[in-house]
Symmetry: C2
Subunit: 200 residues, 2 copies
Amino acid sequence: MTKVTVLLYGDFTALDAIGPLDVLGRLEGYEIHYASLSGGPVSGSSGLTVETEVLSAQGKSDILLIPGGFGTRKLSGDAHFLNALKKVIDESPLVMTVCTGSALAAACGALDGRHATGNKKAFDWTMSMGPKVRWERNARWTKDGKFYTAAGVSAGMDMALGFVTDRFGKGKALSLAESMEYRWNDKAEEGWCFLKVNGQ
Amino acid sequence: MTKVTVLLYGDFTALDAIGPLDVLGRLEGYEIHYASLSGGPVSGSSGLTVETEVLSAQGKSDILLIPGGFGTRKLSGDAHFLNALKKVIDESPLVMTVCTGSALAAACGALDGRHATGNKKAFDWTMSMGPKVRWERNARWTKDGKFYTAAGVSAGMDMALGFVTDRFGKGKALSLAESMEYRWNDKAEEGWCFLKVNGQ
Protein backbone atom coordinates (compact mmCIF):
# COMPACT_ATOMS: atom_id res chain seq x y z
CA MET A 1 0.00 0.00 0.00
CA THR A 2 1.31 3.46 -0.93
CA LYS A 3 -0.12 6.14 1.32
CA VAL A 4 -0.78 9.53 -0.25
CA THR A 5 -1.74 12.38 2.07
CA VAL A 6 -3.05 15.70 0.85
CA LEU A 7 -2.62 18.52 3.33
CA LEU A 8 -5.69 20.77 3.24
CA TYR A 9 -6.27 24.16 4.85
CA GLY A 10 -9.02 26.77 4.70
CA ASP A 11 -9.49 28.21 1.20
CA PHE A 12 -7.41 25.67 -0.71
CA THR A 13 -8.02 25.39 -4.48
CA ALA A 14 -10.17 22.29 -4.96
CA LEU A 15 -8.79 21.38 -8.36
CA ASP A 16 -5.14 21.73 -7.25
CA ALA A 17 -5.86 18.87 -4.86
CA ILE A 18 -8.35 16.74 -6.77
CA GLY A 19 -6.52 16.92 -10.13
CA PRO A 20 -3.33 15.16 -9.02
CA LEU A 21 -5.25 12.95 -6.55
CA ASP A 22 -7.53 11.61 -9.27
CA VAL A 23 -4.37 10.57 -11.14
CA LEU A 24 -2.66 8.98 -8.12
CA GLY A 25 -5.91 7.39 -6.91
CA ARG A 26 -6.06 5.34 -10.11
CA LEU A 27 -2.76 3.60 -9.31
CA GLU A 28 -3.18 0.14 -7.87
CA GLY A 29 -2.44 0.04 -4.14
CA TYR A 30 -2.43 3.84 -3.76
CA GLU A 31 -4.61 5.06 -0.91
CA ILE A 32 -5.56 8.72 -0.52
CA HIS A 33 -5.83 10.41 2.88
CA TYR A 34 -7.11 13.93 3.54
CA ALA A 35 -5.44 15.70 6.45
CA SER A 36 -5.28 19.15 8.00
CA LEU A 37 -3.46 20.66 10.95
CA SER A 38 -6.46 20.37 13.30
CA GLY A 39 -8.55 17.77 11.44
CA GLY A 40 -12.31 18.03 10.84
CA PRO A 41 -14.11 19.62 7.91
CA VAL A 42 -12.02 21.96 5.74
CA SER A 43 -13.52 24.16 3.02
CA GLY A 44 -11.81 25.04 -0.24
CA SER A 45 -12.77 26.76 -3.46
CA SER A 46 -16.05 25.95 -5.19
CA GLY A 47 -17.74 25.43 -1.82
CA LEU A 48 -16.07 22.04 -1.41
CA THR A 49 -15.95 20.87 2.21
CA VAL A 50 -13.86 17.77 2.93
CA GLU A 51 -13.60 15.78 6.16
CA THR A 52 -9.93 15.56 7.22
CA GLU A 53 -7.76 13.58 9.66
CA VAL A 54 -5.46 15.33 12.13
CA LEU A 55 -2.09 15.62 10.35
CA SER A 56 0.08 14.74 13.35
CA ALA A 57 -2.09 11.74 14.30
CA GLN A 58 -2.22 9.95 10.98
CA GLY A 59 1.30 8.53 10.77
CA LYS A 60 3.86 8.80 7.99
CA SER A 61 2.92 9.01 4.35
CA ASP A 62 4.76 7.86 1.24
CA ILE A 63 3.65 10.92 -0.73
CA LEU A 64 2.62 14.33 0.61
CA LEU A 65 0.62 16.68 -1.66
CA ILE A 66 0.33 20.39 -0.88
CA PRO A 67 -2.24 22.20 -3.05
CA GLY A 68 -2.38 25.95 -3.64
CA GLY A 69 -5.11 28.36 -2.71
CA PHE A 70 -5.85 31.81 -1.34
CA GLY A 71 -5.45 30.41 2.19
CA THR A 72 -1.68 30.23 1.64
CA ARG A 73 -1.36 34.00 2.13
CA LYS A 74 -2.39 33.74 5.77
CA LEU A 75 -0.53 30.48 6.45
CA SER A 76 2.75 31.73 5.03
CA GLY A 77 3.12 33.83 8.20
CA ASP A 78 1.83 31.20 10.64
CA ALA A 79 4.86 29.77 12.47
CA HIS A 80 2.84 26.98 14.11
CA PHE A 81 1.61 25.77 10.71
CA LEU A 82 5.02 26.13 9.06
CA ASN A 83 6.75 24.13 11.81
CA ALA A 84 4.23 21.31 11.41
CA LEU A 85 4.59 21.48 7.62
CA LYS A 86 8.40 21.30 7.80
CA LYS A 87 8.18 18.26 10.06
CA VAL A 88 5.79 16.34 7.79
CA ILE A 89 7.79 17.28 4.67
CA ASP A 90 10.98 16.02 6.34
CA GLU A 91 9.23 12.74 7.15
CA SER A 92 7.81 12.20 3.67
CA PRO A 93 9.95 10.41 1.08
CA LEU A 94 8.17 12.25 -1.74
CA VAL A 95 6.52 15.67 -1.74
CA MET A 96 4.36 17.31 -4.43
CA THR A 97 3.32 20.95 -4.44
CA VAL A 98 0.89 22.68 -6.78
CA CYS A 99 0.49 26.39 -7.44
CA THR A 100 0.94 28.46 -4.27
CA GLY A 101 1.42 25.22 -2.33
CA SER A 102 5.03 25.72 -3.43
CA ALA A 103 5.08 29.00 -1.49
CA LEU A 104 4.20 27.15 1.73
CA ALA A 105 6.93 24.55 1.19
CA ALA A 106 9.34 27.42 0.51
CA ALA A 107 8.21 29.44 3.52
CA CYS A 108 9.07 26.61 5.93
CA GLY A 109 12.55 26.30 4.38
CA ALA A 110 12.02 22.84 2.87
CA LEU A 111 12.81 23.95 -0.68
CA ASP A 112 16.06 25.78 0.10
CA GLY A 113 18.59 25.01 -2.64
CA ARG A 114 16.02 23.09 -4.69
CA HIS A 115 14.72 23.81 -8.17
CA ALA A 116 11.02 24.61 -7.88
CA THR A 117 8.15 26.39 -9.60
CA GLY A 118 4.66 27.62 -8.78
CA ASN A 119 1.64 29.60 -9.94
CA LYS A 120 2.67 32.07 -12.66
CA LYS A 121 0.12 34.67 -11.52
CA ALA A 122 1.58 34.76 -8.02
CA PHE A 123 5.17 33.97 -8.90
CA ASP A 124 6.81 37.05 -7.41
CA TRP A 125 5.04 36.51 -4.10
CA THR A 126 5.88 32.79 -4.19
CA MET A 127 9.55 33.59 -4.84
CA SER A 128 9.58 36.01 -1.91
CA MET A 129 8.65 33.09 0.38
CA GLY A 130 11.94 31.31 -0.35
CA PRO A 131 14.91 33.48 -1.32
CA LYS A 132 17.19 30.42 -1.25
CA VAL A 133 15.00 28.37 -3.62
CA ARG A 134 16.19 27.99 -7.22
CA TRP A 135 12.91 29.19 -8.75
CA GLU A 136 12.14 28.18 -12.33
CA ARG A 137 9.68 30.76 -13.58
CA ASN A 138 9.14 29.15 -16.99
CA ALA A 139 8.78 25.54 -15.89
CA ARG A 140 5.38 23.85 -15.89
CA TRP A 141 6.67 21.43 -13.31
CA THR A 142 10.03 20.55 -11.75
CA LYS A 143 11.55 17.52 -10.08
CA ASP A 144 14.50 17.90 -7.73
CA GLY A 145 15.26 15.04 -5.40
CA LYS A 146 12.10 14.11 -3.55
CA PHE A 147 10.30 17.30 -4.58
CA TYR A 148 7.89 17.64 -7.49
CA THR A 149 6.55 21.19 -7.84
CA ALA A 150 3.98 22.40 -10.37
CA ALA A 151 2.53 25.63 -11.68
CA GLY A 152 -1.27 25.86 -12.04
CA VAL A 153 -4.12 23.39 -12.36
CA SER A 154 -3.21 21.66 -15.63
CA ALA A 155 0.44 21.49 -14.68
CA GLY A 156 -0.48 19.77 -11.39
CA MET A 157 -2.16 16.92 -13.23
CA ASP A 158 0.64 16.84 -15.79
CA MET A 159 3.19 16.64 -12.97
CA ALA A 160 1.29 13.76 -11.35
CA LEU A 161 1.43 11.93 -14.70
CA GLY A 162 5.14 12.81 -14.87
CA PHE A 163 5.59 11.12 -11.50
CA VAL A 164 3.73 8.06 -12.84
CA THR A 165 6.17 8.02 -15.75
CA ASP A 166 9.18 8.21 -13.42
CA ARG A 167 7.90 5.39 -11.25
CA PHE A 168 6.03 3.11 -13.68
CA GLY A 169 7.07 4.19 -17.17
CA LYS A 170 5.46 6.36 -19.80
CA GLY A 171 3.10 3.64 -21.02
CA LYS A 172 1.36 3.62 -17.65
CA ALA A 173 1.04 7.41 -17.63
CA LEU A 174 -0.42 7.41 -21.14
CA SER A 175 -2.85 4.68 -20.23
CA LEU A 176 -3.99 6.55 -17.09
CA ALA A 177 -4.44 9.78 -19.03
CA GLU A 178 -6.46 7.90 -21.62
CA SER A 179 -8.68 6.29 -18.97
CA MET A 180 -9.45 9.81 -17.71
CA GLU A 181 -9.82 11.12 -21.28
CA TYR A 182 -7.28 13.70 -20.14
CA ARG A 183 -5.01 15.35 -22.68
CA TRP A 184 -1.68 15.08 -20.96
CA ASN A 185 0.89 17.75 -21.73
CA ASP A 186 4.05 15.81 -20.97
CA LYS A 187 6.36 18.78 -21.43
CA ALA A 188 7.63 19.76 -17.99
CA GLU A 189 10.13 22.29 -19.19
CA GLU A 190 8.34 24.50 -21.64
CA GLY A 191 7.05 27.89 -20.63
CA TRP A 192 3.35 28.02 -20.03
CA CYS A 193 1.90 29.54 -23.18
CA PHE A 194 -1.84 29.43 -23.14
CA LEU A 195 -2.46 31.56 -26.19
CA LYS A 196 -0.01 29.67 -28.37
CA VAL A 197 -1.43 26.31 -27.31
CA ASN A 198 -4.89 27.40 -28.32
CA GLY A 199 -3.65 28.79 -31.62
CA GLN A 200 -4.74 32.34 -30.85
CA MET B 1 -27.00 34.80 -7.41
CA THR B 2 -26.79 31.81 -9.78
CA LYS B 3 -27.25 28.54 -7.93
CA VAL B 4 -25.27 25.57 -9.20
CA THR B 5 -26.05 22.16 -7.72
CA VAL B 6 -23.91 19.10 -8.29
CA LEU B 7 -25.76 15.83 -7.73
CA LEU B 8 -23.43 13.36 -6.01
CA TYR B 9 -23.89 9.62 -5.38
CA GLY B 10 -21.69 6.84 -4.04
CA ASP B 11 -18.61 6.23 -6.20
CA PHE B 12 -18.80 9.36 -8.32
CA THR B 13 -15.62 10.46 -10.15
CA ALA B 14 -14.19 13.34 -8.12
CA LEU B 15 -12.66 15.16 -11.04
CA ASP B 16 -15.85 14.97 -13.16
CA ALA B 17 -17.47 17.08 -10.46
CA ILE B 18 -14.63 19.32 -9.29
CA GLY B 19 -13.30 20.14 -12.78
CA PRO B 20 -16.42 21.92 -14.07
CA LEU B 21 -17.24 23.27 -10.58
CA ASP B 22 -13.87 24.96 -10.25
CA VAL B 23 -14.65 26.75 -13.53
CA LEU B 24 -18.21 27.76 -12.55
CA GLY B 25 -17.15 28.65 -9.00
CA ARG B 26 -14.88 31.39 -10.40
CA LEU B 27 -17.84 33.23 -11.95
CA GLU B 28 -19.03 36.18 -9.91
CA GLY B 29 -22.31 35.46 -8.14
CA TYR B 30 -22.17 31.70 -8.81
CA GLU B 31 -22.76 29.63 -5.69
CA ILE B 32 -22.02 25.90 -5.61
CA HIS B 33 -24.19 23.42 -3.70
CA TYR B 34 -23.45 19.73 -3.15
CA ALA B 35 -26.54 17.52 -3.02
CA SER B 36 -27.43 13.84 -2.98
CA LEU B 37 -30.67 11.90 -2.86
CA SER B 38 -30.50 11.30 0.91
CA GLY B 39 -28.01 14.01 1.93
CA GLY B 40 -25.08 13.49 4.31
CA PRO B 41 -21.53 12.44 3.45
CA VAL B 42 -21.02 10.93 0.00
CA SER B 43 -17.76 9.28 -1.09
CA GLY B 44 -16.36 9.38 -4.58
CA SER B 45 -13.13 8.38 -6.29
CA SER B 46 -9.75 9.21 -4.72
CA GLY B 47 -11.25 8.75 -1.25
CA LEU B 48 -13.01 12.10 -1.45
CA THR B 49 -15.92 12.39 0.99
CA VAL B 50 -18.17 15.43 0.61
CA GLU B 51 -20.98 16.62 2.89
CA THR B 52 -24.20 16.99 0.85
CA GLU B 53 -27.64 18.56 1.22
CA VAL B 54 -30.81 16.53 0.61
CA LEU B 55 -31.65 17.05 -3.08
CA SER B 56 -35.42 17.41 -2.62
CA ALA B 57 -35.03 19.85 0.28
CA GLN B 58 -32.66 22.34 -1.25
CA GLY B 59 -34.98 24.15 -3.68
CA LYS B 60 -34.56 24.81 -7.38
CA SER B 61 -31.18 25.38 -9.00
CA ASP B 62 -30.18 27.41 -12.01
CA ILE B 63 -27.65 24.81 -13.14
CA LEU B 64 -27.61 21.10 -12.34
CA LEU B 65 -24.35 19.16 -12.81
CA ILE B 66 -24.32 15.35 -12.98
CA PRO B 67 -20.82 13.82 -12.82
CA GLY B 68 -19.89 10.33 -13.97
CA GLY B 69 -18.53 7.48 -11.94
CA PHE B 70 -18.70 3.75 -11.34
CA GLY B 71 -21.76 4.31 -9.13
CA THR B 72 -23.83 5.02 -12.23
CA ARG B 73 -23.99 1.30 -13.06
CA LYS B 74 -26.09 0.57 -9.98
CA LEU B 75 -28.15 3.77 -10.16
CA SER B 76 -29.11 3.25 -13.80
CA GLY B 77 -31.47 0.51 -12.60
CA ASP B 78 -32.75 2.34 -9.50
CA ALA B 79 -36.26 3.61 -10.29
CA HIS B 80 -36.46 5.72 -7.12
CA PHE B 81 -33.24 7.55 -8.01
CA LEU B 82 -34.21 7.95 -11.67
CA ASN B 83 -37.62 9.43 -10.79
CA ALA B 84 -35.97 11.97 -8.48
CA LEU B 85 -33.37 12.75 -11.14
CA LYS B 86 -36.01 13.29 -13.84
CA LYS B 87 -37.88 15.67 -11.54
CA VAL B 88 -34.84 17.79 -10.71
CA ILE B 89 -33.71 17.84 -14.37
CA ASP B 90 -37.20 19.01 -15.43
CA GLU B 91 -37.03 21.80 -12.84
CA SER B 92 -33.53 22.97 -13.81
CA PRO B 93 -33.21 25.55 -16.59
CA LEU B 94 -29.73 24.26 -17.46
CA VAL B 95 -28.27 20.77 -17.04
CA MET B 96 -24.67 19.60 -17.48
CA THR B 97 -23.57 15.97 -17.56
CA VAL B 98 -20.04 14.60 -17.60
CA CYS B 99 -18.89 11.11 -18.59
CA THR B 100 -21.32 8.40 -17.45
CA GLY B 101 -23.44 11.13 -15.82
CA SER B 102 -24.94 11.30 -19.33
CA ALA B 103 -26.06 7.69 -18.94
CA LEU B 104 -28.08 8.61 -15.84
CA ALA B 105 -29.75 11.55 -17.60
CA ALA B 106 -30.51 9.21 -20.51
CA ALA B 107 -31.80 6.42 -18.27
CA CYS B 108 -34.47 8.69 -16.75
CA GLY B 109 -35.63 9.72 -20.25
CA ALA B 110 -34.54 13.36 -19.94
CA LEU B 111 -32.29 13.22 -23.02
CA ASP B 112 -34.81 11.61 -25.39
CA GLY B 113 -34.52 13.27 -28.81
CA ARG B 114 -31.49 15.33 -27.72
CA HIS B 115 -27.96 15.32 -29.07
CA ALA B 116 -25.66 14.07 -26.32
CA THR B 117 -22.30 12.46 -25.65
CA GLY B 118 -20.49 10.69 -22.82
CA ASN B 119 -17.44 8.69 -21.76
CA LYS B 120 -15.82 7.07 -24.80
CA LYS B 121 -14.70 4.02 -22.82
CA ALA B 122 -18.28 3.27 -21.75
CA PHE B 123 -20.07 4.63 -24.79
CA ASP B 124 -21.93 1.49 -25.82
CA TRP B 125 -23.29 1.04 -22.32
CA THR B 126 -24.16 4.74 -22.11
CA MET B 127 -26.01 4.52 -25.44
CA SER B 128 -27.96 1.51 -24.22
CA MET B 129 -29.35 3.69 -21.41
CA GLY B 130 -31.16 5.93 -23.89
CA PRO B 131 -32.15 4.38 -27.23
CA LYS B 132 -34.03 7.59 -28.18
CA VAL B 133 -31.07 9.88 -27.52
CA ARG B 134 -29.19 11.23 -30.56
CA TRP B 135 -25.76 10.07 -29.36
CA GLU B 136 -22.69 11.80 -30.77
CA ARG B 137 -19.87 9.32 -30.31
CA ASN B 138 -17.15 11.63 -31.64
CA ALA B 139 -18.12 14.81 -29.84
CA ARG B 140 -16.06 16.09 -26.90
CA TRP B 141 -19.10 17.95 -25.68
CA THR B 142 -22.56 18.80 -27.02
CA LYS B 143 -25.14 21.49 -26.40
CA ASP B 144 -28.79 20.88 -27.22
CA GLY B 145 -31.36 23.19 -25.68
CA LYS B 146 -30.76 23.30 -21.96
CA PHE B 147 -28.45 20.27 -22.02
CA TYR B 148 -24.65 20.39 -22.09
CA THR B 149 -23.13 16.89 -22.14
CA ALA B 150 -19.42 16.04 -22.08
CA ALA B 151 -17.13 13.06 -22.58
CA GLY B 152 -14.35 12.52 -20.01
CA VAL B 153 -12.51 14.66 -17.49
CA SER B 154 -10.86 17.21 -19.81
CA ALA B 155 -13.99 17.55 -21.89
CA GLY B 156 -16.02 18.34 -18.76
CA MET B 157 -13.85 21.34 -17.97
CA ASP B 158 -13.77 22.32 -21.64
CA MET B 159 -17.57 22.12 -21.73
CA ALA B 160 -17.85 24.34 -18.65
CA LEU B 161 -15.64 26.90 -20.39
CA GLY B 162 -17.86 26.48 -23.49
CA PHE B 163 -20.85 27.38 -21.32
CA VAL B 164 -18.96 30.44 -20.04
CA THR B 165 -18.40 31.44 -23.68
CA ASP B 166 -22.09 31.02 -24.52
CA ARG B 167 -23.18 33.10 -21.54
CA PHE B 168 -20.39 35.67 -21.12
CA GLY B 169 -18.34 35.59 -24.33
CA LYS B 170 -15.10 33.92 -25.28
CA GLY B 171 -12.94 36.57 -23.62
CA LYS B 172 -14.33 35.62 -20.22
CA ALA B 173 -13.70 31.92 -20.87
CA LEU B 174 -10.13 32.60 -21.96
CA SER B 175 -9.51 34.75 -18.92
CA LEU B 176 -10.89 32.08 -16.56
CA ALA B 177 -8.79 29.37 -18.20
CA GLU B 178 -5.74 31.58 -17.87
CA SER B 179 -6.42 32.26 -14.18
CA MET B 180 -6.48 28.47 -13.66
CA GLU B 181 -3.43 28.01 -15.92
CA TYR B 182 -5.68 25.53 -17.71
CA ARG B 183 -5.08 24.76 -21.37
CA TRP B 184 -8.60 24.99 -22.72
CA ASN B 185 -9.41 22.87 -25.75
CA ASP B 186 -12.29 24.90 -27.17
CA LYS B 187 -13.15 22.38 -29.90
CA ALA B 188 -16.43 20.77 -28.94
CA GLU B 189 -16.91 18.88 -32.16
CA GLU B 190 -13.67 17.10 -32.86
CA GLY B 191 -13.24 13.45 -32.05
CA TRP B 192 -11.23 12.75 -28.96
CA CYS B 193 -7.77 11.88 -30.19
CA PHE B 194 -5.34 11.57 -27.32
CA LEU B 195 -2.45 10.12 -29.27
CA LYS B 196 -2.64 12.68 -32.02
CA VAL B 197 -2.90 15.53 -29.54
CA ASN B 198 0.25 14.37 -27.85
CA GLY B 199 2.04 13.93 -31.14
CA GLN B 200 2.57 10.21 -30.69
